[in-house]
Amino acid sequence: MAEEEVKSTRPQGVAPAPNPKANGPQPGSPSLSAPANKPEVGPKPKGKAADDKEMVFVWPHLVSIEAIASLFFIFSLSLMSLLVNAPLRNLANPELTPNPSKAPWYFLGLQELLLHMHPALAGVIVPTAVLILLAAIPYIDSDRRGSGYWFSTRNGVRITVFAALYTMVWELALIILDEFIVPVEKATTLILESGEKLSVSPGVHWMNPHGLSHGIKPLFLHLFGRAPLTVAIGEIFIPSLLMVLIPYLLWHLIKRRYQANTRELMISMYSFFIASFVLLTIIGTAFRGHSMALMWPWHITPPIGI
């Protein structure tokens, strides 16, 4: 059935383009990046092809799918509601701060940002900018072509995967850097959980923070003193720079590597957004324990005071 349809989208007499990579685009999907006279572009969909315009009645073809999907979701939600209870913790107590106190899961990405930068940036400016940029996508990529197909172009899937991996590697590296880099101003003796004593000399260390202030911001204070300007550099300037630089580099990498057009650049930017959202949400949900310290999910204990 599906195979029939795929075939039917090909204009008659046009052979399918050779497709060396298994996860290449579907036959018939257009490549926006190549000009019309290149034969390897693959067949273009032609509106005139009668098969492409085959119409079906909404009743029953669509209405039945909607009914089945609705029943499926109602049934699944009911089943879940029978098995898992919604949480109701202790009565609110302004005197007792739970540790950790986390936002609902969909805001944990933002709460993760909050650990690394100024709250105005993490809580207000970044989400506002993200919403505005999302809404702006169709006004930047205003070419009508490439709609109605998954990933639009020959390189769409590859760009998505590349951008997602690129984003995750950057962000994981930064999170780990911010967690384990510990500047120490004067000689300190730490008492570890095992009771062991550990002498730490002044300087910049790479270690588990053990409650010492850690990360890029204190490193900056350590190196350049505590003037308001250096505080601002650590918690506003450097994070802003990174948040612009990482997608900016991605944009140019995609452009050079894939000779990307605007649609493909948008794919890389959206993939950057969605990969960041997913990664930061997972880190915030499953890898942050007491005092929002980075830890493995199996080391996380239930919050205190909740």
């Binding site: 509106g47 209405v63 986390k102 009508r144 197909y149 639009s152």
Partner: protein, 256 residues
């Protein structure tokens, strides 16, 4: 004449359903045109759009979640008291004293998470199929506002049980709002209805949750669906050859 045929021949039945069961092309057209719910659809659509893996039905699933949330939400309002600390006790009572109270609350909670997930996935589907492209730009922008409304609906509901989870999530949230450049203090005052989280905050978020945000979401959803129809239904591939002159290739494409 069977009983069913007799019912169908009554004036009452005919006043409700204006066409016979839709098993002929004529009635398949009429059922869509005559029904308020179904007339959101066109009568016929391209076969490709019916394929589940093109849309995964995510927009419809978001709407379904919203409908479940509306129904269970109205039901919860019969029992919920927006006072401090009465709210928490009414939740306790709901779970222990009311028939299906726990079940209805669970349904509301899980559908709320479901809606956030469905809306996010719907946006992602629309993006990767290029369905934001003209003429659908404005509908995409409206969709971004609907995403924001979904987050706000979910977050305002999070406060209402008045438990530790709720109280401290709001504390974190309103402290972040306080960090807004230049107008932080005013924004926080507006969100809390005072200088600290209390009765005024609860009433504010309750009103937003049960009236203002749902009305705003419904209005925008109506416009969103209407625009889907006005912009030619869900996206289909543009026939290239016809459009090439009208929409010249992108500069990047022309360059190589």
């Amino acid at each position: 004449m069977g009983l069913w045929d007799r019912i169908k021949s009554t004036r009452l039945y005919k006043s409700i359903y204006r066409n016979d069961y839709p098993d002929t092309p004529r009635n398949q057209v009429l059922v869509i045109l005559n029904s308020m719910v179904l007339h959101l659809h066109p009568v016929k659509i391209p076969k490709k759009q019916v394929r589940y893996t093109f849309t995964f039905g995510l927009g419809g699933t978001s709407l379904l979640m919203f409908l479940i949330l509306t129904l269970t939400g109205v039901w919860l309002m019969f029992y919920y008291v927006p006072s401090i600390p009465g709210a928490w006790f009414s939740m306790k009572a709901l779970q222990t004293d009311v028939y299906f109270g726990q079940f209805a609350r669970n349904l509301h909670r899980w559908a709320a998470h479901g809606m956030v997930i469905a809306v996010l996935l719907h946006m992602t589907r629309v993006f990767y199929t290029g369905s934001y492209k003209p003429p659908r730009e404005f509908n995409w922008a409206m969709g971004v506002v609907l995403l924001l409304l979904t987050f706000l609906l979910s977050f305002t509901g999070y406060l209402l049980p008045w438990d530790q989870l709720a109280y401290w999530a709001i504390t974190v949230g309103s402290n972040m709002a306080k960090a807004t450049p230049f107008i932080g203090a005013q924004v926080q005052l507006m969100l809390l209805g005072g200088y600290e989280i209390g009765q005024a905050t609860l009433i504010r978020w309750y009103t937003l949750h049960v009236i203002f945000l749902p009305l705003a979401a419904m209005l925008l959803m109506g416009m969103h669906f209407w625009r889907v129809r006005k912009d030619g239904g869900i996206s289909t591939p543009i026939p290239y050859d016809e459009d090439e002159a009208e929409f010249p290739p992108q500069p990047e494409a022309a360059a190589d």
